[in-house]
Symmetry: C2
Subunit: 402 residues, 2 copies
């Protein structure tokens, strides 16, 4: 943390480590040269393990939503039956895109704040055969819920083995374990400003060998988002269109840090920061929004208590340099969200909980000084205890230290 | 110039000025906060005059090609008649996208290296009534040709007044005069890595009031590229999806420089650098590819002479720190291209011509030392003489000097 910059606790964009910021400030270079090819190959090689795949990962210059659209437009032809399983705003967005592209879109909509019940999914799939694709959300950024995507994918594969399994992993991949090949997921989407510690501007779409055959027979028109164009160009070491070069520089620098830290340590750090956030907030009397069995390791949704509106909270925290996210869609004005993904450290979470504690005392919410941060610290240490690999502090390189 | 970095003479991405690089290295911030809103408004307010419009400009996180797709997908419904007037690879791309989206796509294809003859366009429009839209290229990056877009737009408006006029201005707007409202152009596309001196990652699509009504009735499915979503969000000071924030930072910084320099001076600088490039190359015995009446002020295409292949040229120039672009499509291996747009200075052009001169001498092409750079310098000074506002050297601010 730096007292001259805010503590950005959004669910993306995240804080950029110093080396990533430096990469973003680099001079332009040719995207048709050998250096770019080497950089793109290096980025992809280090990203694939976080997807848990040895297959293709298309890098598309767009936001995460563009990645979701690419996932739909490449797999669904007009009139085909698809199932969109939604647990929040981004699940609904998948369904909206599929409908817009003419798919015969069934929705299995779960109450916001809850995860998908595998039995409910199984029952639905058994009574509605013939889906071409099933769309799932791994981590629902709007509600702070993590679906058990491995279990859900297994259910789809068991009941409708022909269906493509397409996962919104935007705020999950890179931050939590993801095993695309092992779980037999066909498409997975993520974006540069989430767990990857880079600026927004690149979406990544991983594609299974099985999906490629289906993509070939999809009739939906697509050009910029046509995954085949990325596949062909990237195989030749080229970006298909002029890519977001500076974001690629940043991803390359961020993956240096992620490789040094190691996937297990990254995942454990996310869990520890999430546990600290939850414990700190609960000690301050806040109620967490999500089902306690499915808390997200990357974003925590918190109900706004009676008598504390979003504007007051947001202004009060911003005055202390802490920027959190508001509620989206139907939750606008009734929750706030604390992001803890990417470069997040326990120090930033303690700072956040401390600011909420201070604000709570100012607002006479009956909070004793220290109770929030103490609970956060204890929860983090307990979480770390369960994960011997965890480094809740960033690596020396990341912090720019010794 | 800096001897520790190459002289990037591509037709985009261009060299970034120091203040733009610094902006690219800034920490992330919330794209839902007041600061972002102020920045986006500031960027749009200063960009509109370069489009010559008081209307909407959508900022889409994608490459220029994504901007072209947005232009097509929002204006053309399946089965409708459109005319794509192509003078090169990017004109062909417009036609490819329109066909792919199901438009009944007529092509008026001009020999590469030539501009559109207004009389030929008029004759075509007279004998083929009923186009919904006519797609034109202002500056064809693949051939170094600048179409007389004001004249062509007037021809369309005269013969088929109902047709939408849609312009690929990717490598033109910001670098050459463009008067969208006055010329009655309906959609115009540009991209951040061209005249705007920023990294790739943002496309800008300007839309006329007349076009909005047509966009409403277009049935082509679109989500990420739906211009209405940008219109609605931007009117509320919001980006519709998580935007390429770092590129927006850069555009903001670049527009500081562009505003300080002034549009007339920017355009004159481009003309002077283009004149210098052409004169220098011709003095070295190179043949320019484009029709001499329609040379581009932003990119010069040069025929590779007998006995000099692209790889040898590219390697020889790169060894001297000068990076030029190769030929695209049918011109691959037969031309090379020198970009002179955005931050370009006469010094960078002299450096480029000097490197070509040195290489020509090494290759025993019968060139006398100094002849190329002398011709370049003389042409620039003559061009500046015609443009009293020109500052061929960048502003002190841009160069970071006194």
């Amino acid at each position: 943390m730096n007292r001259f910059e805010p503590n950005l606790r959004l669910a993306g964009p995240t804080m950029l480590p110093p080396s990533v910021r430096e990469a973003g400030g680099r001079q332009m270079s040719s995207h048709r040269g050998a250096e770019f090819t080497a950089m793109m190959d290096r980025v992809l090689a280090r990203m694939r393990p976080f997807f848990g795949t040895t297959g293709d990962v298309a890098m598309i210059s767009c936001s995460g939503t563009g990645g979701l659209e690419a996932a739909v437009a490449n797999t669904v032809s007009p009139g085909e039956q698809v199932l969109c399983v939604s647990i929040g705003l981004f699940g609904d967005r998948f369904a909206e895109i599929a409908s817009l592209y003419g798919a015969n879109t069934a929705r299995l909509s779960i109450e916001w704040g809850r995860a998908v019940d595998p039995d409910e999914l199984r029952a639905h799939l058994q009574s509605h055969p013939g889906y071409r694709a099933v769309f799932l959300t791994h981590n629902e950024t709007s509600t702070g819920v993590l679906d058990s995507i491995d279990v859900l994918a297994a259910v789809v594969r068991e009941v409708q083995p022909e269906a493509l399994i397409i996962v919104d992993g935007v705020s999950a991949v890179g931050s939590v374990p993801f095993k695309m090949d092992e779980w037999q997921i066909d498409l997975a989407v993520t974006a540069s400003q989430k767990g990857w510690m880079a600026a927004p501007g690149l979406a990544m779409v991983a594609v299974s060998p099985r999906a490629w055959a289906e993509i070939e027979r999809t009739t939906t028109p697509r050009f910029y988002f046509d995954l085949r164009r990325y596949h062909e160009s990237q195989a030749r070491g080229m970006a298909v269109w002029t890519p977001a070069i500076a974001v690629m520089y940043q991803l390359d620098a961020a993956l240096d840090l992620m490789s040094a830290e190691g996937a297990e340590a990254i995942f454990a750090r996310h869990e520890a920061c999430a546990a600290a956030t939850r414990a700190g907030l609960e000690a301050l009397g806040f109620e967490l929004f999500a089902d306690s069995h499915h808390y997200s390791p990357t974003v925590t949704a918190v109900s706004l208590p009676d008598g504390l509106d979003w504007e007051t909270l947001n202004r009060g925290l911003a005055a202390q340099g802490v920027i959190v996210a508001g509620g989206l869609g139907q939750l606008s004005g009734s929750i706030f969200r604390v992001g803890h993904l990417g470069s997040v450290t326990l120090g930033e979470i303690l700072d956040t909980v401390g600011a909420l504690e201070d604000l709570s005392i100012q607002l006479k919410r009956g909070v004793r000084a220290g109770v929030g941060v103490a609970a956060a610290q204890a929860a983090a240490l307990e979480s770390i205890g369960r994960h011997p690999l965890a480094q809740v502090c960033p690596s020396a390189g990341q912090r720019g230290g010794t």
